[in-house]
Symmetry: C2
Subunit: 208 residues, 2 copies
DNA sequence: TTAATATACGAGTTATCGCTCGGTTATGAT
DNA sequence: ATCATAACCGAGCGATAACTCGTATATTAA
């Protein structure tokens, strides 16, 4: 409980902004953080540089963020949220087969749309409290996927452990794409990758 | 060419050791680096701390390594080499099905045997010259897998693009396991994960 | 034995880091 | 118009980082 709070304090906002201009300040900081990350990398990024590029006093930065990690944790959190919104704000496909195809496609388009930033986030930025608690992405996404799989249980090959299967395919999908983002970004434009990944998941999940 | 050398210089040994004691020094540094990584993380790890823990003068450290990145790049390189040796020094299975099962099993055992170090490497340590050139692991492994797939082409579902398929399954396997290492390490002891991953790959690759 | 080379060393220089704190300015409520 | 509070600011302190360079010691070759 206490330890948990201590940990969380390192990664969340210090105070919640109420006025508009403070929200603008926070946005400026996050935007600057992303630009600094792209130009010099996480290691050499410093709170001073971020504040300077954001056109914000260093004191202001520390009003809202306890440190560098928290800033980048927030950058990542917002990107994850964007992805989650993209996948949710969409007519729910009728069949599992379509769902798989759709989600692979959405995530691929998502990473392609801002490749450099995602590569930098994956590679350079350590993850929020790893092992301590689940990433927001999986925490939100897996239950949703589990529910969908449960609703189509009759089409599934693996009906025994739907919860674990749901987690498994979510992780496999995301991590495989992230691997391409980092190590073979040029192949992300090849439609073959999308085909292979879709086929991989469909064959695994669906009865033939 | 010149740029490439500049980049490489940041990540490779400065000089090749000839005498035994210098090899011992390098090993002490690498071992200390791993321990520092586990205790305080990549960010707060410094060359000074590593040298101190290694019982080596800071000057000696800089005789061999141009900086912190190079030290950890070498730690990772050696871990990758260990894994590669494990998979190669083993009677080659007769069938693709066995091969898949075997490799999933080897890699899982490999990460389980030193979970904390692998988690720290995956999460905290930025990758060597990402995008510039392929990681040694994939550079060595993919051609080998490609050859094996080619030799069993008759059993394959995807015979059109063996090279890309080989790369694809290698990345999918490694990145999925790495995801569990980082985000759900407790599940690595559940045999279900091994089953699911094996099944995923077999269904994708093999004709039924 | 001696010369050449490889290895080891660490005090010290320079730079930057994280972060605080006392104080100013802007905003909204009364 | 007045006041409370939210937001903003940046000089500057203490700590620590990366890395060099002159020097000392060990090893090997001649």
């Amino acid at each position: 409980m206490e330890k948990q709070d201590t940990v969380n304090a390192l990664y969340s906002l210090r105070k919640t902004p109420t006025q508009e201009r403070s929200k603008a300040t926070i946005n400026a900081i996050l935007s600057a953080a992303a630009r600094v990350l792209l130009s010099i990398g996480y290691d050499k990024a410093s709170t001073n540089k971020i504040a300077e590029l954001a056109g914000v006093g260093i004191g202001s930065l520390y009003e809202y963020f306890p440190g560098k990690e928290a800033i980048f944790a927030e950058v990542r959190r917002r990107e994850d949220q964007r992805l989650f919104d993209l996948t949710m704000n969409r007519p729910e496909p009728a069949t599992l087969k379509e769902l798989i195809q759709t989600h692979v496609s959405i995530y691929l388009e998502f990473v392609r749309s801002n490749l450099d930033l995602h590569a930098a986030l994956i590679n350079g930025v350590p993850q929020f409290a790893v092992g301590q608690q689940e990433l927001p992405f999986y925490r939100d996404y897996v239950p949703w996927a589990t529910k969908f799989l449960g609703a189509h249980a009759s089409e599934l090959r693996h009906v025994e452990h739907i919860e674990q299967v749901s987690s498994f395919i979510t992780r496999a999908t995301r991590s495989t794409i992230d691997n391409y983002v980092l190590h073979a970004p040029e192949q992300l434009n090849d439609p073959l990758i999308e085909e292979l990944l879709t086929d991989l998941l469909q064959r695994f999940l669906l009865k033939t």
